[in-house]
Amino acid sequence: KTLRYANQGDLKSLDPYTLNETTTNAHLGNVYEGLTKRGKDLAIQPGLAERWETPEPTRWRFYLRKGVKFQNGEDFTADDVLFSADRVRAQGSNFQTRVPKDAKFVKVDDYTVDVVLSSPNPILNSQWDTWYIMSKKWAEANNAVAPTPAAATTPSYAALNANGTGPFKIESHQAGVKTVFKPNPGWWGKPEHNLTEVIFTPINSDATRVAALLSGEVDIIEPVPLQDIQRVNASANAQVLTGPELRTIFLGFDQTRDELLESNVKGKNPFKDPRVREAFYKAIDIEAIKTRVMRGLSTPSALMIAPELFVYSKDFVRPKLDVDGAKKLLADAGYPNGFEVGMDCPNDRYVNDGAICQAAVGMLARIGVKVNLNAQPKAQFFAKVLKSGDYKTSFYLLGWTPGTFDSHNVLFDIMGCRDNPNSNRGESNLGNYCNKKLDALTDQILVETDVEKRNQMIKEAFKIGFDDYGYIPLHQQSLAWGVAKNVKVAQRADNSVLLYWITKD
């Protein structure tokens, strides 16, 4: 059976260490495999490692699967793991954080590898499902030992060819146009799919993608624009699979500058006053955003992490919508007539991101705050608001999925203070929300191995951020895959479309 599949994004490079990006990772996940895998419920499962153990807190031992062959026929052994561990941490890799810098890989025998750490790390292998293992011999033979940097000025063999151990192999690849997958007959596992060929086409226009699905020219599309879900479901030959996604969408404030870059308030920064942040929080009608903008397909969130990823999420409840209260708060803070502020927002990154921002603009207008919205394509947006753009924003919308599926990542990257230039802490904390108590907890969380104790600490840290109104979390958006009726597919919450779980009648 031939499956035709269209995605908004493209498979940007075939070198699995070039670009850490969801769509690319998912695609390569059909061809390459890591030592671990994640199941349909995202639970960590054995991959190329059959099993692993932690004989001591700083030593992990992995037992490799035997009889696995790369698609070019070579055997998979411990050498390949050692090679991949070096390669993934080498200059030019976009996945360097997958494996700690100081972790030593030791070959015990051909099918056993030890990882020696300098300090305990309970979540060492939490991202290894997307650390794909490459063949040492193949890489050496093809002059591809070094990872292809994203900025490569000469194309490398590995970027244009793939040699994994996975269930599919790439038959042909024309960037931006078409990629053809064929099942790998020598795969070690038992195929759960019944496909003989997969033709993948990137289609970035929403309407075209939907039209292609409706007219039966493709079998699966991702994503389906929210407003078209009904239409697709009403059609005879396709339906939409929806489900919660792990990404949290939130609003952030510049809390570090003494004067906002884009505001009519001069000489002071209103966002340094928690009452102003609280007022903003209470002015946002999250239910209206859910029902109108997201068409019911979002989960309003009180935390900066999805409930699936943190067990005590339920203990947090968003403050109620309270326009009058918000006005009063603003007045108390010294802004009875509100003020003016610029807002940065991507318009092609998250589900209905532009519309969410517009809605927020309207809601804030009711408490007298005039928001000048700058909705822009993601390229411009990121160029402006990220570190490389000097965090030039006063008020913004952003989305975040912790790559480790763990709260530490959120507390460290998003909620950590940015004050130490030698640390990566708070690198994506664009407005520099900062609370030292939270930072201290974060550091303890990293090394704590007792799960319950760790969860309590996480809860405490989130509570600090919650009480500070450091961010306005909005919601977790939904996945929406359009699937032809004769196709069955397993939808995973990290939005990876994995071909090996697809069957077509």
Binding site: L214, I229, V232, R292, Q358, L364, N374, A375, Q376
Partner: protein, 317 residues
């Protein structure tokens, strides 16, 4: 000296001007063509609607405080589920579509008119200079025009938009988009004016009345302004109307590609782009009404321009 009141001659002149118009072929051919009359009527009504939008429109769609998200996606009044408050329904932000169309029309028109005004001013001045002065200046201007012709308006706008975004990184699109559009349209449409004006200037400058003026010693800039310009400006009228239509389409296309006006101040094009996302989902009115308005207006303007072209062409009479 006559004791006549000073106004008489001008009044007489005006009367005769009116008489000339009444008598002229233009008016007659206008009255003879029903299609043109209807088009002109549509044009005028739409222009008036756009001009008086703040007084006609029930709400101000540019004021975020006046839109309620909870009113979003309501169908037109006469459709089941419609709200009598919203004649043509609402868009995804809860904006009254009727008001949004009036305001959007206004925005589209302002962009179009400003863009075309820049193009015309630029093109006419350059064309006049090139044609009248000739020589290297002429060659240079026309070469620039050639190069410029390589790139259609869309491409130029994409380029300019990118540059502006890069140069004014901090500034919100709201503040730059308008300028970008106007400048792009101005820069991409001037060539036509320059070529037309240059062509007729080349003819006109050799006519004897220009020679006569030179003979009296009238300086070249004055000759260009007072003698040549009024006589070459005729065909520009036609280009103006047609360009206005084209400018509005260009703006809409750019907005469709996401380079146009921001969704907080939607032009017709932006409304269509927003609406296009809702075409499959059954909210047809968001794309249909702005689409019809745009097409009708452009069509009407083009019809008038078309007629004008024929009416002003003496050879066709």
């Amino acid at each position: 000296m006559t004791p006549e009141p000073a106004t008489t001659p001008t009044a007489a002149a005006r009367a005769s001007a009116w008489a000339r118009l009444r008598d002229s072929d233009i008016l007659a051919s206008f009255l003879a063509s029903k299609v043109t009359m209807v088009s002109a009527f549509v044009t005028v009504v739409m222009l008036a609607g756009a001009a008086f939008a703040p007084w006609i429109a029930p709400t101000n769609p540019f004021d975020p405080a006046s839109v309620d998200l909870l009113n979003s996606l309501l169908p037109p009044r006469w459709v089941e589920g419609g709200d009598p408050q919203f004649l043509l329904g609402t868009d995804n932000q809860g904006r009254d579509l009727w008001s949004a169309i009036l305001y959007g029309m206004r925005v589209s028109l302002i962009v179009g008119v400003c863009g075309v005004a820049i193009a015309a001013t630029l093109g006419i001045s350059l064309g006049l200079l090139a044609g009248y002065l000739g020589g290297r200046l002429d060659a240079f201007i026309m070469r620039v025009a050639d190069i410029q012709l390589t790139f259609p308006a869309i491409l130029i706008a994409l380029v300019i938009d990118g540059v502006v975004r890069a140069l004014f990184k901090g500034v919100a699109r709201e503040h730059t988009a308008f300028g970008v559009l106007v400048v792009s349209i101005g820069l991409s449409f001037w060539v036509q004016y320059a070529r037309t004006i240059r062509g007729s200037t080349l003819v006109e400058k050799n006519k004897d009345y220009v020679q006569a003026a030179r003979l009296i010693g009238i300086p070249a800039p004055l000759i260009m302004l007072r003698h040549v310009l009024p006589n070459v400006i005729g065909p520009v009228l036609v280009i103006l109307t047609i360009n206005l239509a084209l400018a509005i389409i260009t703006e809409a296309t750019l907005s469709f590609l996401g380079v146009g006006l921001p969704p907080t101040q939607p032009s017709l094009g932006t409304l269509i782009r927003i609406g296009n996302d809702f075409l499959f989902s059954g909210e047809w009115w968001i794309v249909a009404f702005p689409g019809i308005t745009l097409a009708a207006f452009v069509l009407a303007v083009n019809m008038v321009g078309d007629w004008l072209r024929d009416a002003l062409n003496p050879k066709l009479r």
